[in-house]
């Protein structure tokens, strides 16, 4: 989108005279939709989570009759009300907190997630910044957020926050490795780090019926998909890997001391990160914007539709995890990562290599 805007701007006389201004304008204009998308994503995802959890737990979730004291029809306005409440809430910074870091932390977390979004394509054209190493860029930016988490936990001057931050640091850094290694299987098959090429390599059908997405390509990529997805769930701190914010143990973990707007940034980022993990999984393994019925419903807006539905489905699975599983313990989590996920992801790489060379 940045390149596209720059092309347009170069046609406009006064903008083409100052390329720096044109560049800033192009970046801002393509960043704005991402910000809006993140906000809307959080609103929708929170509502969905409330409803999904409610239906799984034999409840109705937020309900209401209309605007007013009620939260709208079927509670549709619940998250809007939540957002208004969070925005107008008093902003508390504990007296003993490290003020500067305390204020800085949610922004670092948010920015890490925001810039990662820039590399995420919604279809072959709709992407804020079209890289030729998009998948690598997203993985790299996804790990910037952990600095925010550590800062939040450290600066709060609260023992619970500190525990949350330490757990989070260990967890996110560990699980990044299997997540990255399992994506390597896909990169091996396409020979490219650009999402455009990865998705293009998945066009067509296997065995006549199945779309030739990488998840169906061979048993090892199928395994790699689940490795990546579960490691991704661990990276975004969702149950059963939600140790950094384990409510029953650490009160609220690293964001115990945060309230109001600052707290809502953590929340916004959590849901945006879920979308990124689901989006990358959809692009790398589920054919991204390709239709599940090869040859039909292809291209343009259908692309966005298919991509969004795939991501939404994976987010639904994450919610399903959350409302079904208990939580692991720190050492069990680490053991799982280093003793199971790591060898397994190496195995998938070897397996995919052998399959590609000898069996195909």
């Amino acid at each position: 989108m940045v390149d596209y805007l720059l092309d347009i701007f170069s046609g406009i006389g006064w903008l083409s005279a100052s390329p720096n201004l044109a560049f800033v304008l192009a970046v801002t204009l393509s960043g704005l939709p991402i910000f809006l998308f993140m906000a809307v994503n959080a609103l929708v995802a929170v509502y969905a989570e409330r409803k999904v959890s409610a239906f799984m737990q034999d409840r109705l979730g937020p309900m209401g009759q209309g605007v007013g004291l009620h939260a709208g029809k079927w509670g549709l306005l619940q998250t809007v009300a939540d957002a208004v409440k969070l925005l107008t809430k008093e902003d508390i910074i504990p007296a003993s907190a490290d003020r500067k870091l305390f204020i800085l932390a949610p922004f670092i977390l948010f920015i890490g997630c925001f810039v990662a979004f820039a590399g995420l394509p919604f279809n072959e054209h709709v992407v804020a910044a079209d890289f030729n190493l998009g998948i690598f860029y997203i993985l790299a930016m996804g790990s910037v957020g952990v600095i925010g988490v550590i800062l939040a936990g450290y600066s709060s001057n609260n023992k619970w926050s500190l525990y949350g931050a330490m757990r989070s640091a260990a967890q996110i850094i560990s699980y990044e490795i299997p997540a990255g290694l399992s994506l390597l299987a896909v990169i091996m098959l396409t020979g490219s780090l650009a999402f455009r090429d990865i998705v293009a390599a998945q066009t067509g059908t296997t065995l006549g019926v199945l779309p030739s997405w990488f998840i169906f390509d061979n048993p090892f990529t199928f395994f790699a998909f689940w490795l990546f997805f579960v490691a991704g769930v661990a990276e975004v701190n969702r149950t059963p890997f939600d140790l950094p914010e384990a409510e029953s143990e650490l009160v609220a973990g690293f964001h115990t001391e945060y309230s109001g707007m600052r707290w809502s940034f953590f929340f916004l980022t959590e849901y945006a990160n879920m979308f990124i993990v689901a989006g990358v999984a959809a692009l790398a393994f589920l054919g991204g914007w390709l239709s599940p019925f090869p040859g039909y419903f292809e291209g343009g807006l259908w692309g966005i539709f298919w991509f969004m539905s795939k991501a939404a489905f994976l987010i639904f699975i994450m919610m399903w995890f959350r409302w079904t599983f208990p939580r692991l313990r720190t050492d069990q989590l680490m053991r799982m990562c280093w003793k199971f996920f790591m060898p397994a992801s190496f195995l998938t790489i070897v397996g995919v290599g052998i399959w590609d060379l000898f069996i195909r």
Binding site: S53, E247, E249, V251, P326, R329, Q332
Partner: protein
């Protein structure tokens, strides 16, 4: 000691930190404060501080008539109020040599077992919540709610019933109550399988609870741990069987004990599973009692006009959902007891926390505390 953990992690020692868990913490099951010494995430010492909910129950009772003390027993273990009423009523009746009518005996057993169901549901649900599973908690509450509805129909209260009186009960079962209770039991029995599917045999749940917080039988006995916590350690001890009170000897039921099926004998999973199996037993008892209960009779027939036990003292014990609930009452012949002492099963269960949870991680301490199923109202009294 968390031997398994030590084997896994080796012995690493850093600087120790003191951490206060509670009194405002989501998982302390009331206003309990644990002063915990931690080495990283590993606990080296736990000191429980109690008394945040102390309401001078025993001292109050010295200034109240015998029947006025009943609402106070409600407020001790507010999760199993019926059983507390029952224990107290049995003690005073023993002191005064009152024999209640057949019908009342059956009614008491029915409400006490229903309350045991409600209490164990809460214990199972919150234990799930402590290890991070949210949904089983709400399933348990959904079913507990139906029991509370039945109690509301029975005596107007959902939590503090004041239902079992000395020499009787406050009301007869309302019209349709027995049928509704049958309906509930029919609805509830298949739900136990649902809890098993969702929580009991979940791999992560087993990982979190098996082998964790083992109470060996001799430790449990030396600390005076009773109830499901003791039975979880493989000791078949249930006051309903050992020192039968009321009419419990007429019913056919088992006393489930821990077997160490998933880990070692007496771990959190065993304690959890004993409670789950007791749900089935309580359903069994309730069904039998409903079947053989005499349909008519005055529930106030044996209620004494004036409660003035002759001088003397009594100690009687009953099986509350949490274990051996004892009441010691000393009377000087007046209408108030000169001393009333309540033996709290939750207190003894909490007292062994340091011994069993030392060496485990913070997450495990929360799980162990949940598996002990303490109620602070009863510990502090």
């Amino acid at each position: 000691m968390g031997v398994a953990l030590e084997k896994e992690l080796g012995t690493v020692h850093g600087e120790e930190m003191i951490l206060n868990i509670g009194p405002q913490h989501p998982s302390t099951h009331g206003v309990l404060r644990l002063r915990v010494k931690t080495d990283g995430e590993i606990i080296t010492e736990i000191i429980p501080y109690i008394g945040y909910l102390h309401r001078c129950f025993e001292k109050h009772c010295e200034n109240l008539t015998y029947e006025q003390a009943i609402p106070f027993t409600d407020r001790c273990d507010y999760i199993g109020s019926m059983n507390n009423n029952f224990g107290y009523a049995v003690a005073v009746e023993q002191l005064m040599d009152i024999k209640v009518s057949e019908k009342v005996e059956y009614m008491r057993v029915i409400v006490a077992e229903m309350n045991r169901l409600a209490s164990h549901l809460l214990a199972i649900g919150t234990f799930g919540l402590d290890v991070g599973a949210f949904t089983p908690f709400l399933y348990c509450f959904r079913d507990r709610e139906r029991i509370l509805d039945l109690f509301e129909m029975l005596c107007g209260a959902r939590l503090l019933y004041n239902y079992i009186w000395i020499g009787g009960v406050s009301h007869d079962f309302p019209v349709g109550w027995v049928e509704k209770t049958y309906d509930f039991l029919d609805y509830f029995e298949p739900k136990i399988a649902e809890y098993n599917e969702l929580l009991t045999y979940n791999k992560i749940f087993i990982e979190r609870s098996a082998d964790v917080g083992v109470i060996p039988a001799e430790v449990a006995i030396s600390y005076g741990v009773t109830g499901p916590n003791l039975r979880g350690s493989g000791v078949r001890w249930d006051i309903r069987k050992e020192e039968t009170y009321g009419i419990y000897d007429r019913f056919d039921f088992d006393v489930p004990i821990g077997t160490g099926a998933m880990g070692s004998l007496g771990d959190c999973w065993d304690r959890y599973y004993v409670r789950l199996r007791e749900l089935e037993e309580s359903v069994k008892i309730t069904r039998q009692a409903l079947d053989s209960m005499p349909r008519d009779g005055d529930v106030h027939a044996a209620v004494p006009k004036k409660i003035r036990p002759k001088a003397g003292h009594v100690y009687s014990r009953t099986e509350s959902p949490r274990g051996d609930l004892g009441f010691y009452i000393a009377s000087d012949g007046s209408d108030t007891p000169i001393r009333l002492k309540m033996r709290s099963p939750a207190f003894t269960a909490l007292s062994c926390l340091d011994e069993i949870a030392r060496g485990w991680m913070i997450s495990d301490v929360i799980a162990i505390l949940g598996s002990l199923d303490i109620v602070l109202g009863e510990i502090d009294r």
